[in-house]
Amino acid sequence: MNHNELQIKNDESTKSTPPSGAKGFTPPSGVGGLDAWDQILKPSRGWQAVDWRELYRYRDLLYFLVVRGIKAKYAQSVLGVSWAVIQPLFTTLVFTVVFGNLAGISSDGVPYVIFSFTAMVPWNYFSGTLTEASNSLVVNANMITKVYFPRIVLPLAAAFSKLLDFVIGLAVLLGFMIWYRFLPGWEILVLPVLILILLLCSLGLGMILSAMAVQYRDVKHASTFMVQLLMYAAPVVYPASKVPDAYLFWYSLNPMVGVIEGFRSALLSTNPMPWNLVIVGGGVSVVVFVLGTYYFRRMEKVFADVA
């Protein structure tokens, strides 16, 4: 009996479906049900978190984008990866002459060259990632409009491919330390935390800028020179100890302050670890990173339409 009824119902439902399918729509019947659908595409609303599981599925894409970024950057160049050394090294030498010798800016009692190079390594990573990441979506607009993949891999890949330069910079820094006979103390154990802060704040800002750059190309023009100006808001060419105590809290809101002073303390033992700067900066960079992911996700849906 029961079975028969079901049969009749099914028959009816097929009959009521217009053969053309152009008009009217029969929602899926109870058989199979809603949960049988793998994906439901519909307009998204509000703020959404990054789908980390999906991102993990696309890890190979991230890997190849990083490789592509590195290879493409140094393709057809004579000096290749050596540029990663030459550029910060010469900037440091210029700084040493201008700020260290001519202007006589104090360097917390260590040679100015190593003082400013220690700051140059994280700062270069930060500024490079910012510029590269903010352009990453615009440069790859053709990919965004042709294929779906989690768009966040683009700024991520930009940030990760910059890590190579960073590691090379660290190696050169190690050379300096050996040359000047610096033996780091226990503070070097904090270095991974500092690098994490550096990554979080570079990535967070990079994501925000990249998402903005898709719609507003001004970001491209602004980011290059903003990065140059920002360098003076961080203790790259001068020590943080020069900043009056009254402004120190506001100063430390810039995560790069804690990172750079932390690097100096960890590697050169100039000062004790400046926990006040590091903790405030770390907090800010976590906030920036989380904000960045949410903002990126919110803007993500219009990328293909406005890119």
Binding site: Y58, D60, L61
Partner: protein, 426 residues
Amino acid sequence: MSSIIQVHNLSKRYRIGLKEQRHDTFAQQLLAMVKAPLQNFRQLRSMSKFGEDDDSVFWALKDLNFEVQQGEVLGIIGHNGAGKSTLLKILSKITEPTAGEVRIKGRIAALLEVGTGFHQDLTGRENIYMNGTILGMSKKEIDRKLDEIIDFSGVEKYVDTPVKFYSSGMKVRLGFAVAAHLEPEILIIDEVLAVGDAEFQKKCLGKMESVAGEGRTVLFVSHNMMAVRNLCQKALVLKHGSLKYHGETEDAIDFYLKEYSETRRRLQYAPEDAPGNQEAKFLRAEVLPLTGKDWPLREGEGFRLEFEFLYLGKDRTNLDVTFHLVDEYSNLVFVGSSARNNSQEYFNNGQVKATCEIPPDIMNHGTYSVSRLLLVRNRGVIVLSVSDPISFEIVTSPADAFGWMGKKEGVVKPKLNWQLSYDPGH
């Protein structure tokens, strides 16, 4: 058979760029430059924000409803701007719908382009990995299929050469080779076959047939009716973002061709939004049967072309209308010009209407279009040029039903004056 894709009330809205304002004086221009940043900001912001509908809002898709069955090969046809690509972009998750929803079972791979993500400086092999992972394959999967992909692409010799040294054909082949080795449940293809040489196209069609044969679902967008006819069991016709027809491929193609020719017979604008320049606007172009006759146009019959312009020039001047008529292969059939009649007509500031009668027994059957329409001043200065305004079809005459049934012979089919004589014996 069960449905693998369900599309329910799907709509997509875009905002198109607004017309730029024109400034007549230097002072206005200067003021506009000062105000520009604020205005630019409003405009850029509005690209992703929608208030009430205004002129710049454009519905690429409106209330689409359809289902695709598992294993079906569905063709999507419609002319340019009908919403085909937008539909594919939504189905492939590139862009979000504005309203409605799509339900999908299984993995989707979309081929809206071949070789996405290729980098000039990377080798063929590296680009296979790049392109493959963008399309959603894992490194392991590509490792496994690498030899097959390289083999299929036919560029074995150059696989370790940067692709910037490849010919465009080689790049396309490499890109398609990667795509052909995707193993999705649903494959979406957009006009990919329009590239590459004939031999390669054949290879692609063969591959697609085998994909379809394996029981996978394929959505196929193309202007190539032959390909749609050969590959698809069913097709849907889109027009201005709405679904006009969904059914058997043959019927859908017939519907499309009929609809297409009907909509292309006339192009008309209201004077307020007519395209043109400061001197003249284009108002109307139309093809009509001769009085007493009806659609469709048949070969052997004549027809009439009508053109209307709005001329804004203040001075009296001599104006002529010229058009180029081309066939479906873009061969120029002839150029018609009112200047040939050698009558000097003077116009100033008003509506210019030109009618041209094409006498019977000239045109062969086929699809023809006015490829270029010109308004010419003083026998030589082009005032306004309109490209491809109208197109129409001339069908075979029933009188010919027992004649030649093959390919059409020649662009024109004139009725010629023949004299046959016969001289018996010698």
